[in-house]
Point group: D2
Chain length 291, copies 4
């Protein structure tokens, strides 16, 4: 595959990001690419040979999108770009990132390889969450990392039932429930005691938050399952579902929440020498090679 | 499918088991089945219209094997029966069991349904573990629940490297490592802090035992991965791999241990009303339905 | 000690509680006691030989206060009664309680023993929390179970430094921090992974909530320590300190929170056959005696 | 206090340790001290102005003992030296240590301060464990870090009852039980999920190993309690109690194990700038100061 039209996105108003974006414009121009730049970052760049575009337009027209920033920026981009058939790669301008693995220092060497076809493509699936009230769909959204059901107040218990593919699993009193993808298994879910799912695994993890029953444990289920959460009608009113800690949907007592795999996929590309476990090991201070 | 030849196995020298085995012989005789009884339990039964057989013969000749006892008895039977194309069902004579879900009180009602074809079949995969010393295979075995690498002495640290599909994951100093199947995820792995994997999940979990690095976390990987553990040459000599806490293989410093899915499957059958989560909920005192 | 003046408090507008309160009035009248009833529950009781009083008056005048309800009602009562020199005992009308150990069915037998002097007294300490802004005390409160610093929004990270007796311990990015007494160690702190501290222990536990650093662990410190939390000035504005999940204090970026033992004590009395571990064992489904 | 007679101990046959020991001999000679050297390390040192001694003699005669090595060496020394009235300080020649906080690079600066009286003394208590068989004391030992009851085989369940001050706590099926001091709370107990107890805390922690009941939690009790463990008579024979992973006592089914505070104390001295939490923070990669 040849990447002819390349989109650029990034952390807005961030100096390091702007430096990388400028360098990328020069680099891509030399390659003869058509360059589309997210209008939110284009404003801060000197005029040049690129077209400012809205993100959905970039998704529709680009063959490749380069996202400059941290994992948070990639998450925001991914939620939109997954709707399109476009490859995405990240240049890291944040902390050590799981999703942004190109080093800004020598991005040209790594992009050269990618333009030469030396890369691996990972399909990362997203979740779709639907909130039903009396059998009517009230709201809907998507998540790359996780969907979290929780109280709108911290440290307030709620009560709900969980079903997997319509089989009753448990009722729970807790602060809430995290449903995470493999991508999200190294994010909030991990802080809550969830396991790490390798990115290629077709599975979800359900992690209880401060459960009242101490024998509650993280559950890992097939990603093709439908997770249904029925919120007890006895709860106080202020409940929420949040997607990737960004989007918040209102949940009322008695509501049903359905979480399932979204049909969209994020096509994340990595240089051929990429090893998922290297990042994990550095982040978590795991032991390096002995011999 | 019609079950014409039925094998019977069970907990040896256990009164409740013998009562159930006798009742089963009467029941199966009425159905017109040919009955094969594991010679280890046959000796304790009154003479009757059945053939005492060695377990491998039962596996080869029976269409259905009924195992009477607890999960431990089922595990022992499963390790052998998985080598054959035979359906297996458990009658519970131990504690509440994950694998033995027929109630001995009304086994006939439940077996009637099964003989009428009203049942679900679950394929449970096994693990195969191979120990290599200087590139030579030294020993090999299979596990239904889990393979555990550990010191032969409790509370003694060992050091090893883990690779998934030849990608380096981490080196670890710990008391050992548990590699569990979904079936085993509710057994020893769970006591060690591992997640629960639903039985249909094609995944393994790697759970560190008393890891020196406190940010070590359970890892869930695709069951088609090869897990390679390289034991540091610096370890003291006494290391072991155990399969389902029964079989013990000797491991020497410098050895490589390869763990992968075994090509055998256990065909476990359940009455149609079986719900895996019911057992889990009772075992773990999880909350029951609210409404 | 002879209990001449007895206060009665309880869960308001709760049928079972009212039944017990009425029975207690009859019982105490027979003993010749002066009876003070919390005015919030007195309104729902038939007229009788008792004096409706505000809780602070009860604390000041009574020798013994009997609280009818669950642990939540006892907590509310305890926060006030700890300011006075008065013995407190609980009659359980909620779920199995840690603090309310008199069974309503045969309360008379158990109270007879207590009136005969056959009881044990436990001193449970409280925490005091002070919020300082630019070295000025802005607000202050007390907690029986725990003080929790957290975001006002769920699943939002905050950043803060912790000092014990002015020694720097760590900085942390997390959803917040729980500082619990032994009494609170079986409540919210336990759901968050904290250890159980026996009631007689003069210690506090600090339990991180969803910490970003995975090697964060519960810390147990001397209860005579001063725990100082300095909230980073970089946090968003909406932070909170909550006491026993009831009282909420506002915290601004840059604020300092001081948590120390309150000089008040709750004098909780128990029948002589009381065993703290019995309640724990039942609540947590721990194993009972083997022999 | 003036340290006139100084003992030297260390990791045997370890080059770095020997370099430090030689330098210490020169340093102490200049101070005019009488120097006693553990005969196990003296053999590897060039002749000099010191007296080779057995460790008990060093304990009896020295005012100060300097232990060169890692925490393991300090543990071994501490078990003996705690029987004597002698101050102990560690020079670190292992990994980052909790007990050996003098840096070998500039040990003279730090020892100068100590000889000038600028130091803090910490009293670390030890545990005593007694194994009773049919009410007869069979064996006894002491531990600085922890006493562990466990199977002699890894991953084999055992069954026992625990009593605190003769109050029944729970029965448990598990791989064993760790009873740790504050000193030991950062060692094996921590790997097993136990809390960190600050060194000045007069408390013990009981940490279950791979408990069958998933709601088992670490328990923190007053260090003046007697922990009694009654091993079920139904266990298989091979059980053990180990002290600091070094001493192993045999335990038979039906035995009683009593664990209590030993009357000996280790007098550990630290330079005045010592902060326990600095070591903890480095070991556990906890966050450093923000401002």
């Amino acid at each position: 595959m040849r990447f002819n039209t390349v989109g650029l996105m990034g952390k807005p108003a961030h100096q390091g990001t702007n430096i990388s974006l400028n360098a990328l414009i020069v680099y891509l121009k030399e390659k003869g690419c058509r360059i589309l730049v997210d209008e939110k970052v284009a404003a801060n760049l000197p005029d040049g040979d690129f077209e400012p575009k809205e993100v959905h337009e970039i998704g529709a027209e680009a063959d490749l999108v380069i996202v400059v920033g941290g994992d948070g920026n990639m998450l925001g981009a991914a939620r939109i770009l997954a709707q399109f058939d476009v490859a995405v790669v990240g240049v890291n301008r944040g902390n050590l990132g799981f999703l942004t693995d190109i080093n800004p220092e020598d991005f040209d060497v790594q992009l050269d390889s990618i333009f030469n076809g030396e890369y691996q493509t990972e399909q990362r699936f997203l979740l779709e969450v639907d909130v039903y009230r009396e059998h009517q769909l009230k709201s809907s959204n998507a998540a790359v990392n996780e969907v979290v059901l929780h109280h709108s107040k911290v440290a307030h218990m709620m009560e709900f039932e969980v079903f997997i593919d319509d089989k009753f699993v448990y009722s729970q009193r807790s602060d809430g429930l995290i449903v995470a993808t493999p991508t999200g298994s190294t994010a909030y879910s991990l802080s809550g005691g969830g396991p790490i799912l390798t990115p290629n695994l077709d599975a979800l993890t359900l992690v209880p938050m401060f459960p009242h029953t101490l024998s509650s444990r993280p559950l890992v289920v097939d990603a093709n399952s439908v997770v249904k959460i029925v919120v007890s009608a006895d709860n106080a009113e202020n409940l929420q579902v949040s997607c990737d800690s960004h989007i918040v949907l209102t949940v009322m007592p008695g509501d049903e929440i359905h979480i399932r795999k979204n049909h969209n996929r994020l096509s994340l590309i990595h240089p051929n020498n990429y090893n998922y476990f290297n990042v994990l090991r550095k982040k978590l201070h795991w032991g390096s090679k002995l011999f």
